[in-house]
Symmetry: none
Subunit: 203 residues, 4 copies
DNA sequence: CATGAATGAGGCTTCATTCAT
DNA sequence: AATGAATGAAGCCTCATTCAT
């Protein structure tokens, strides 16, 4: 129940940057697992072994800490978009099924953020980060009609797989591997991203 | 629906049941929009126009109210599974894109529940309801190899579309209609549910 | 050190209005003696024998409680202006030297408010109440040149006597009586309020 | 002013004394504007550009810093009493109406101290300083009966004018000049200080 | 049984102060 | 001796919950 990722020993390190970074890391874990409202700053501080008031000294407020943590998360997530475009689906699949146990302390940033989506401000933040960073990256790969819609349908699938794995923890997805999913994944990607020969048969 | 029992005092009994039902309805809306932690029982009571203490009188605690509300939600969601199997994809699509404005007060129960998924107990509840009610229903339609996995991949897509629409509020999905999505939806359903002629080409 | 005016026994009276009024009374005393910043709401609640959260239930915030308390105070203070104009100086003197021991729990509202004048918002409030209620009332009595200035010089004197008595607690003023001060008071009032025959001799 | 002592390390000693003096000056300003409780030591330190812990190193505690600052203030205020007695009223008037904008950083010490008068200890300090330094100085000028009372009535007026100007910020007084007030001031001084020919007519 | 007044634990945040370096 | 990281005690306020009437 306490100290999920880091140890709870007191640290008198007196190293500002190290403590700040440790708080940020602990915040990512807590916010990701328990949501914004469900996390209290004392538990974050306890994970690091530090007094809660340091959070306010270094970040100003719980909200600012959350923003910094999720911005950093989103940037990390956006890195997957770099690289050869034709291999993007494979990279995305790899990312979403990354070999971390579902009960791991680190979840995908956007899924983590969902847990905080009760708050209107956070929902706006989520919208911007997902749309501007993520969907926009996928959108560039889509050719053919309905490109916007298909880019979002595909993004939604990735989102859904992530949610099913780490939040719902549905049985088969929680334990699967990229290679097991690949055949289906590529065929669906072909349809939604609009591959060469797989354009809609328009029944 | 709420089966008034036999003995006298008809009106008092009526009021009690009506208030109870109204609280439950308000709870579904609030929990769905703001999550478990983000909702407070006073606002639920205010929505109904009664005092918050009635919540404890009728349901015992906030947690029990949540459980009752989400169980009822899950049952309502499961209803979509009833009916001719071959039309299920169409019914699911209709359900997930149902004509409610994104700021509507009623969201899909499972998506609503995501907002509360910071709590371990609630996550278990979510797992059971999604897997036992929903994925199990879809699973029955899947033929061919990897049936479990494909059922979950398809369920994940539905989940993801719902999340993208009502939480992320991604631009194209938020405003789309079932008929616009249908062509893509059916082709993907063909792949994942393993329809008649579209079985995997087995590379 | 604790419970300055009211008793500290718990009260389970369950009388909303009575509790509210008791809190307001205790707030007036505390704010008057210790200033806005120097008062904490727990001590106010303790004076009444009630939980501190009731303050927020009934008044919304410490600041709103302060505003309500000081507005009520100011209205009470303004009452002295009613009555025959030519006897106003006497009534003012009576008010400012009212027979309450300097260590009494009730001080003159404006002097009490001075203790909170570190806060910009409160300073504005004080300005408005003193100028609009008090100085404006005195201003009507002043005839002759420099009427505004003289009204304020006279008001300032009253203010200063109050401060000297109850804050500084200077020795002679703390113990004096209206009749002892009256001769000097009337002569100064004659000069500042601009009596008939006492126009400046312009030496 | 701060008497550098004899031994070596000239520059280090200098810096220390300079910093100490700067902290004291900043403290006078802050305490004067925002009161004791309303001032925090970090803002004092920030004004000087040093770390807050120096305050404790140099002064021991916030309270001791306050005491030192206000003692110094009081001595400065007492300086006005030096000089030819017959010109004292003019000097006092000049002091109280000194050309500083109401939002100036420097206020009259006693008025500044009023803002901290919620604290019993500080109130005692205020009493002693005002009575021993100030009223005592004025008292020496008063002749005739009721000398103590009249000295205090006059002091109270000065106090009140200061309060009205810089705390209440009443309109006419805030902008006036010594020459505008002088006619009234001198006549009142004549009455209260009991000048040459203006002794009370003893009704 | 219903009402709403009252409670107390806990959350965010500030601030004087200490302590390791 | 100086620096600034860290602390812990409050302070305001919210919220689930209880209890007198």
């Amino acid at each position: 129940m306490t100290a999920p990722s880091s140890n709870g020993q007191p640290r008198h390190k007196r190293d500002r940057e190290a403590t700040r970074a440790a708080l940020l890391a602990a915040a990512r874990v807590r916010f990701g697992r328990e949501g914004y409202t469900g996390t209290n700053v004392r538990s974050i501080a306890q994970d690091v072994g530090v007094d809660a008031s340091l959070v306010f000294r270094y970040f100003g407020s719980k909200r600012k800490l959350f923003e910094e943590a999720s911005t950093e998360d989103a940037q990390a997530a956006g890195a997957v978009l770099a690289g050869p475009a034709e291999q993007l689906p494979a990279r995305l699949l790899e990312m979403i099924l990354r070999e971390e146990r579902p009960d791991s302390s680190v979840e995908h940033p956007f899924i983590a953020m969902l847990r905080s989506a009760g708050d209107e401000t956070i929902r706006d933040q989520l919208h911007d980060q997902v749309c501007d960073t993520y969907i926009a990256g996928i959108r560039k790969l889509v050719h053919g009609p309905d490109a916007d819609l298909r880019a979002e349908l595909f993004s939604a699938w990735l989102l859904g797989i992530g949610v099913a794995r780490t939040v719902v923890r549905s049985d088969a997805l929680a334990d699967t591997t990229p290679s097991a999913v690949a055949p289906y994944f590529e065929r669906v990607a072909g349809i939604l991203l609009g591959g060469d020969d797989t354009e809609p048969a328009s029944n």
